[in-house]
């Protein structure tokens, strides 16, 4: 690889990028939009569940039970129902997500030291939320006026790595991977195809530039932009969303560098097999953005997927970086724990580069 020729490409590409307001805008604004949108929108926390109560007892004990739901902070009392029909209607319309049904003579049964049954009706259409809410209800009911009866086994639960169980701590480090998977490939894919569309690529073909010089020369500026995006979103995650940072920043940045070159490489690969900017854009979105949402473990844990799909997720580099990012940011993991992911990413990047340089032939057809 000739250094002068390479630098000529890098200089030309950098100038073109800087002078294109759209490229600059896309690379600065879109990651920010996505970070804030998803940082705020995606919350797996269960708070303020809309609660309805059908109190058929109307006793001090029944009132105390419904009060303890509201006081727990997880539930918000929306309405007091009079009849079973009202309950059904409210659940159907989605006005309440859960209804507590306290039977008649609840207070009397408690006084008689019997164990009266109360009913919880949960809207199960959002199964994950329903499950969590039902668990909260279970805990509240179990603790209600329960005299401390020593149990033979004591359960002491400690949540590690994300002690307050804030979902933003879980979502934002995953977003680092998704954002870097979404935009850099898009930019690079367009960069080469634009030259194909304008015809300037033919001048490149009929020049002494080797495919590797041209590809690498194109990659360097886009890789740097992607890396700058990375630093931007990581700092915002730390300072704005206050995601705790447990691990080594240098280690995260080093792996991020590998990852961004991998993703811009994918963009280049896309552009070597497409002819128009439109197809390049669509293909880039289909193979990068979509799987990085669904199959990277960003939102849906991979270990709960069927085995075949788990194998499928290994095709997408975002999966490795989601684990790396969470492993470093939340768990403080180092190379000794995460080396497999680093190695796979590195290998992946090299293969992508090799494929792109191999696909990029200096021929028009």
């Amino acid at each position: 690889m000739n250094r002068h020729r390479l630098m000529a490409v890098v200089a030309k590409e950098s100038r073109e990028i800087i002078r294109d307001p759209i490229t600059v805008g896309v690379s600065v604004l879109l990651p920010l939009v996505m970070l804030f949108l998803f940082g705020y929108a995606i919350s797996l926390d269960v708070e303020d569940v809309a609660l309805g109560v059908l109190d058929q007892d109307k006793s001090p004990a029944s009132r105390a039970l419904s009060d303890s739901f509201v006081q727990s902070g997880y539930f918000r009392l929306i309405s007091d129902f009079k009849t079973v029909d009202e309950v059904e209607d409210a659940l159907q319309r989605g006005r309440v997500k859960m209804t507590l049904v306290i039977p008649p003579r609840f207070h009397a049964a408690l006084v008689r030291k019997e164990s009266p049954a109360v009913q919880i009706l949960v809207d199960g259409t959002y199964s994950a939320t329903a499950l969590v809410a039902a668990n909260y209800a279970q805990t509240i009911v179990a603790g209600f006026r329960q005299p401390a009866r020593p149990s033979p086994i004591q359960l002491e639960t400690r949540v590690w790595y994300n002690a307050p169980m804030r979902s933003v701590n879980y979502v934002v480090p995953g977003l680092y991977a998704v954002i870097l998977m979404a935009f850099p490939p898009l930019l690079t894919a367009l960069a080469l195809v634009r030259e194909k569309e304008s015809g300037s690529i033919q001048q490149i073909f009929a020049s002494p530039l080797t495919p590797a010089e041209f590809i690498v020369g194109k990659l360097i500026p886009y890789g740097l932009i992607a890396f700058a995006q990375m630093i931007m979103v990581i700092s915002l995650g730390f300072f704005w969303f206050q995601v705790p940072f447990q691990g080594n920043l240098g280690f995260l940045l080093a792996t991020a560098l590998i990852f961004v070159f991998c993703t811009v490489g994918i963009g280049l690969l896309v552009s070597t097999i497409t002819r128009s900017q439109l197809t390049a854009m669509l293909l880039a979105l289909i193979i990068t953005l979509m799987p990085s949402f669904l199959f990277s473990g960003f939102l849906f844990p991979i270990f709960t997927m069927p085995y075949v799909l788990q194998l499928y997720t290994t095709l997408f580099p975002a999966r490795y970086f989601v684990e790396l990012s969470r492993g470093i940011v939340l768990k403080g993991g180092g190379l000794e724990v995460l080396w497999v992911n680093v190695a796979v990413l590195l290998l992946y990047t090299l293969v992508v580069f090799w494929l792109a340089a191999w696909r990029f032939r200096k021929k028009v057809a």
Binding site: H4, R5, A8, V9, F205, S207, P208, L209, K362, V364
Partner: protein, 582 residues
């Protein structure tokens, strides 16, 4: 010579062919070009010129045969070729966001030209191209001619022994064209070999040798003079007022290869190597003034590509619109029309009157404002100022009423390629609200007039460019518009079909239709009754060719290009032009 082989040829093509899928784009091309030659590849769009150039530049592999360039094999020794040659592909190949200097330094950088050598060459080339003071301007803000000159500079920066130029002058105004050729002649002094392609027959004279290319095959290969000599004695012109009788004499004569009316002059082209039979000579001499004229390259080209069957005489009588037409008869009246895109004035204060039945041609390089003006007349875009009356309708106020009175055929024939000929015609008839029996009649009239009968069931995608062009024309005249606009209708069509198309246009005009045509083929000017010369948005002159000639008191035989250039020069003197558009 820097080559690796033992041959003396700079380019040696051994029966090369190229297929794309099932389509044979090039077949059996044999070429030998020696050092220092300027070699021209001439032919219509789609003849295979670009494909051949790409093979010579080693950026496309031939599917048959082999080719050696500078002594290297184009398939096996690609890098040795691409690192030496200069290749300018079709269209604009600069980086618009880079400045003139940056474009040059990129071209130099990838070829390892640096330091003082680069600076020296940069200065010399920019001076030669007249771009010295524009070094800091972005390429995207240069005019078409300047961009071409810069492209040429970036290909000369490494002083290549072989320069391949694809469509050097396409979309370039005549002045820049002259300057480009001037640069090439200077560069040639260094002993370099130059290969150019062009669809303009008039550029051929710059070349030492020419290959006429058609449908992927070389029809002839010789010097321009020798090629013209092939047509010696086969071209005549008849000046006459008795067109009907003349056509009777000439109908169905197997000796004829082409007939073309230019006003009152009939251009008669015989098949190659035939002579005009005595009976015809006598008959014609009785009807007008017959004289032999030298063959042009286009004549020779037509002779070589004309179909075997006898030529049909044009079935119409040329009509010249009455010269004393009054304003009421003018179907098009433009007063001070100006169109702007942002700061850029695309059409600048154009006033023009055109009577019914006239074929009016807009000539000018790409970007001169021809298309914009036509769009304004069709109410497809709103002019910034000025009055437009077309077919008796105020264009700005009543665009909807205008639509049914005009026909418009755009640069890319707007046809539905998945539909058949009949379906396209029927659709466009429906668009103009022609239904039931009138629709059947209109379609029959148009397809008969335009010669589409018998191919109603063929899909448009199977048709040749020439047939598509005719179908598009048919679609645009179904409703018998008062004014017809044709935007570059003949680009991409071979000379024979182009002549046929012009005959159609003239026969439509003889029905009283006013027809506006834009073209960048200057030789097509002769087919129009009157011409408008467009340059940088202004209509710098309008009139018939003789009127234009006498306007600058030029000689009888002055070529259209010379006339155009003279008008541009006059315009430049009158108001110094800013060279670049913003």
């Amino acid at each position: 010579m820097a080559g690796g082989g033992n041959t003396a040829w700079i380019i040696e093509a051994q029966s090369i062919g190229r297929r794309f899928g099932t389509q044979n784009v090039l077949a059996d091309i044999k070429l030998q070009i020696s050092e220092g030659e300027i070699f021209g590849l001439l032919g219509p769009d789609g003849a295979g010129k670009t494909t051949l150039m790409q093979i010579l530049a080693a950026i496309l592999d031939p599917t048959e045969g082999a080719c050696r360039v500078l002594g290297f094999d184009t398939v096996k020794q690609t890098a040795s070729i691409t690192s030496r040659i200069g290749y300018m592909s079709q269209g604009f190949t600069l980086y618009d966001r880079l400045t003139v200097d940056e474009n040059l330094s990129f071209a130099a950088g990838v070829r390892g030209i640096e330091g003082s050598v680069f600076q020296q060459r940069r200065q010399r080339l920019l001076a030669m191209a007249g771009l010295t003071q524009f070094g800091g301007r972005r390429a995207g803000n240069l005019s078409g001619g300047m961009r071409k000159k810069l492209s040429l500079c970036s290909n000369l920066i490494h002083e290549p022994p072989l320069l391949l130029l694809d469509e050097l002058s396409l979309g370039v105004d005549p002045v820049s064209r002259r300057e480009l050729w001037q640069m090439l002649r200077e560069f040639r002094e260094s002993g370099a070999t130059i290969v150019v392609t062009t669809p303009y027959m008039d550029e051929a004279d710059y070349c030492d040798r020419l290959a006429l290319l058609d449908h992927g095959q070389i029809l002839a290969l010789d010097s321009p003079d020798a090629l013209r000599r092939r047509g010696e004695g086969t071209v005549f012109e008849l000046t006459t007022n008795r067109a009907k009788e003349v056509l009777k004499v000439l109908t169905d004569r197997p000796e004829l290869s082409g007939l073309q009316w230019l006003g009152t002059v009939l251009h008669i082209l015989l098949r190659s190597a035939t002579t005009l039979p005595n009976d015809i000579v006598q008959a014609l001499q009785n009807l007008g003034q017959l004289q032999p004229v030298p063959a042009s390259l286009e004549d020779v080209f037509v002779q070589m590509t004309a179909p075997e069957s006898a030529v049909q005489a044009p079935a119409f009588v040329p009509s010249s619109p009455s010269p004393d037409s009054t304003a009421e008869l003018d179907v098009v009246q433009l007063k001070g029309v100006t169109c702007r895109f942002g700061d850029f004035t695309a059409v600048d204060n154009v006033s023009l009157n055109v009577p019914a039945g006239e074929v009016f041609g807009f000539l000018g390089p790409n970007g001169a404002g021809k298309t914009t003006l036509i769009r304004a007349m069709c109410a497809l875009l709103k002019p910034a100022s000025g009055e437009l009356r077309v077919a008796g309708v105020d264009v700005v106020k009543e665009p909807m009423r205008l639509r049914s009175r005009i026909g418009y055929m755009s640069q890319r024939f707007s046809l539905y390629t998945e539909l058949t000929v009949a379906e396209n015609l029927s659709f466009f008839a429906g668009v103009y609200g022609i239904d039931g029996h009138p629709r059947v009649e209109a379609i029959a009239w148009a397809s008969d007039m335009i010669g589409l009968s018998g191919m109603e069931d063929r899909k448009v995608q199977e048709l040749s460019a020439a047939l598509r062009q005719r179908l598009a024309l048919a679609c645009s005249v179904l409703h018998r518009p008062a004014v017809l606009f044709l935007d570059e209708p003949t680009s991409g069509v071979d000379p024979v079909s182009r002549q046929r198309f012009w005959q159609l246009i003239q026969s439509l005009a003889s029905t009283g239709m006013a027809i506006f045509v834009t073209t960048h083929y200057l030789e097509e000017a002769t087919y129009c009754h009157r011409l408008g010369l467009m340059y940088e948005g202004r209509l710098i002159a309008a009139g018939s060719i003789p009127a234009l000639r006498s306007g600058l008191s030029m000689k009888e035989a002055t070529r259209m290009e010379t006339i155009f250039m003279a008008y541009i020069d006059r315009e430049k003197k009158a108001a110094p032009l800013t060279e670049a558009v913003s």
